[in-house]
Symmetry: D2
Subunit: 283 residues, 4 copies
């Protein structure tokens, strides 16, 4: 079994901590036990932190509320960086008018609406409005009929040469200790292969996600990448992306990576975290 | 525009003709006009023919009936080679007992049932029977709830290390002149990527499909591969597979490949048919 | 550790045995100890066997000589099925004139020459003869200058829309207990990705390889696929291909798959051999 | 034929311009005719510009010298952002001691040396020093023996679980009007597939490249992404990456994309530049 470090001793060496949400702070059972101590410790030590999450199904406000419900009442909206925020930035900068078609819940779509843009579920695109569709956003695996709307999505992309934004790169997410569900990132790859076009993907391990958070830190202080620690449970997103951006990284065992598999996976992928800890609990 | 050949003059040079079904003999509008003349000519000339189709949604009997309804009454069950027949051969040879789970219609599953095997839709697999599942077969894109059953399929493959057979390699199929639908082959690739396991695929361009048909010919006569002509509308399946197996090939324009795109596609893929004809109508 | 079977007891249940060569009969140290007993036993029991190998670097005659040097003097040329033989069949059937350019040794190219065809190493293709090049064959990783000739190969394929045949699908081969070398199959994938064209690959796991051997058996006897056993050391070629074709399969530990990794690899790939044996030694 | 815009009129709408180097400013024949006028115009208008290039074969100083030799004497080292600079930043932040093995010229390696790190060509790695190798960097396609050193590279990565940095993502580069050469990015993909590990790639279309340049601009002024224009000749790197980062983009026809192919390529890839110009000449 792999030798693990004490999380508190590692955190002490850094000025800012970035956390993945699912599999680190919470999982399908609720709060990861003890994580309230981590945020209390960060507050006590006056250390800055951000939650950097591949989640476009909810707005930053809703994500914050979900942490409050778990008892993490110090986490505020300014601490959240989600892949949905990058999708919104893209639309603000690059799509100035017309319809943005989407796959996901109405709730997820509400957040990405910008002035001048009108969001519409793929199910409501037809011959009367298809010519006004100027972007497609894949937000969430829920909120639509897969059979009907995935076929509609393929045909929309055959008729309209528009940017397609994938706001969550995860291919699956855990439902319980045994089972997973197919995430919108997995569906996106199928559609991309079918239509042969290049989609625009936001979310770890992509650098733009880390840059968004890094920019938030730099708004009010000077900081080096070597002062920031990225904490995650997934080698291919949190650790690969964090390493590449230049951060030191911590792999924890409260989510996708199990202690028994860690060594094999690290060796077979070549993705090596700076540290390994059982949990991100600071005690 | 590309120079095309007269189909009758080409057919005259071969002893046996293999036809793709969809896009060559029929399409979403019904019989390709004039194809009745082709089969009359083949009969008159006493030339042997087979219909070699990536279709596992129906039994050979049902496929034959569908040709009869189009007026091609000479086509009998012995002329049909479908990817579903290869899936059935695999199960007969390799899976001797237990449950075969499937995605597709009850109709498609009925045909692959063998003695000792029991077919069950993925939707009906649960904790009580999952340990008896010894194979999974992906047959058709209809007959199940995509959202519920694709997730169930992923979790079945996470728990049981069983062979997965994909009985149709096509990723899309045409619905009408504009639109396509996602075929089970496209869904299979998504699931394969998610679970990271290697599936067993039957259907053109795979050689086993051509071998199955070639064996039928050789049951009653001696023949060289150079005496057989493969006719298809799709470069990546009919033409690539036919070429590789050693057959001469004809590309026709009544299906997936349009005259205006043919030259670009042939050059960009490097898949070069021996001949190009507007249609497979012999007149 | 995985439970293994006695090879002799398994062989007794089949009429015909197909063996992979490298990793089963021989490896980088020479004959796998005891394999002479296997061939003596097969002779004694009057069981038919074939050696089915992804090797296009040598002719069947040269492959036979290499077995004789190892003391397996009963193996004759009729027992050999190599991917090079499929490449030769393809050229015989499909390319009737002009130049066949190749990457490999002069020796490997000599074997694929057919009447009417002239083989020429890629290094000797220039403006004076490029228009006569009607096929490209990738035979071996030796016999050419990688830097100069791989670039020449890319540019040849940009100028001439010709079939490219890859006569060995392996990506690496073992040099010694630690190290591997890059095989021509690995190079082929790089070139294919760069030029964007579809190559024609011969070699396990492709069905055409198994069919070639199966046809040899059927030339002189009636046999069912269920009477044939495929023995190999590699899950992705021998076992996947053998299973798919409908054969029962044996995984042995004298080559690419180590006893300690076998269970993990079988689970992670979903490629399940019918049996596992330490070696293919019959005693 | 596609309708193009006047480059000067477009530049007038932006405060900062990012240029790709090869295919925009220069090509295999030297300076793209008229590009001296562009840099004169930018100076006259007091517009800031950066050259953002997937080139790790030379240091920023050497890249600057190459522009000076073409007569673009105003371009200074501060205007250059190369993928080699990101590789160097990574090593500075993440690899603190030992040997950095490399593929490329001694010249390219000299630049990435940091305090505490020692660079060594892959050819010089052997049993005596392999345990000190803490990173591998793929810099250039020249400076090593492909046959010998690519095999050594594969075996190095099988023995040492170290980060591999690919400092140029291009798969080919043009040699002349007809021919291309295989770039280190193409070789990197082959090695990555063979060893099965995830490499760290720097270079367009990756966001980190654009962020590096964007940070340089923001060091001395406040600016929005919407004030920056990215100019390039390649859809998959310059335009895809620029669009995703939130910049407006210009595709020019002086490099990889020809006027006759532009429309087909834009439609088939779904990568749509904001503008299309014949050249980046401002007149």
């Amino acid at each position: 079994m792999i030798q693990t470090h004490n999380f508190k001793e590692i955190v002490d060496q850094y000025k800012v901590v970035f956390f993945d949400a699912f599999g680190v702070i919470k999982n399908y059972m609720g709060l990861v036990p003890g994580m309230d101590k981590t945020f209390a410790y960060l507050k006590e030590q006056n250390k800055e932190y951000y939650i950097v999450t591949n989640d476009a199904s909810r707005s930053p406000k809703q994500l914050t509320d979900s942490f409050h419900k778990l008892g993490l009442t110090d986490i505020c909206q300014d601490h959240i960086v989600s892949s949905g925020m990058l999708a919104k930035e893209y639309l603000d900068l690059k799509v100035h008018q017309g319809i943005v078609a989407y796959l996901g819940t109405a709730n997820s779509a509400h957040y990405i609406e910008s002035s001048g843009l009108h969001t519409l579920p793929v199910s409501m695109i037809d011959d009367s409005n298809i010519d006004q569709v100027n972007a497609l956003v894949l937000l969430d695996d829920e909120g639509f009929d897969w059979f009907r709307d995935l076929t509609k999505t393929v045909n929309l992309l055959r008729r309209r040469n528009i940017p397609t934004i994938v706001a969550n790169t995860d291919v699956v997410y855990p439902l319980n200790v045994h089972d997973v569900a197919i995430a919108i990132g997995g569906i996106a790859t199928m559609i991309e292969n079918i239509v042969g076009k290049r989609f625009i993907r936001f979310g770890k391990p992509d650098s733009q996600m880390f840059m968004f958070a890094y920019d938030l830190v730099r708004e009010h202080r000077q900081i080096s990448k070597s002062d920031i620690l990225m904490v995650g449970d997934t080698l291919h997103t949190d650790i690969l992306g964090g390493n590449k951006f230049g951060f030191d990284t911590v792999l924890v065992f409260t989510g996708n990576t199990l202690p028994a598999d860690a060594e094999t996976r690290i060796t077979s992928t070549g993705i090596v975290p700076t540290y390994i800890c059982d949990t991100a609990v600071a005690e």
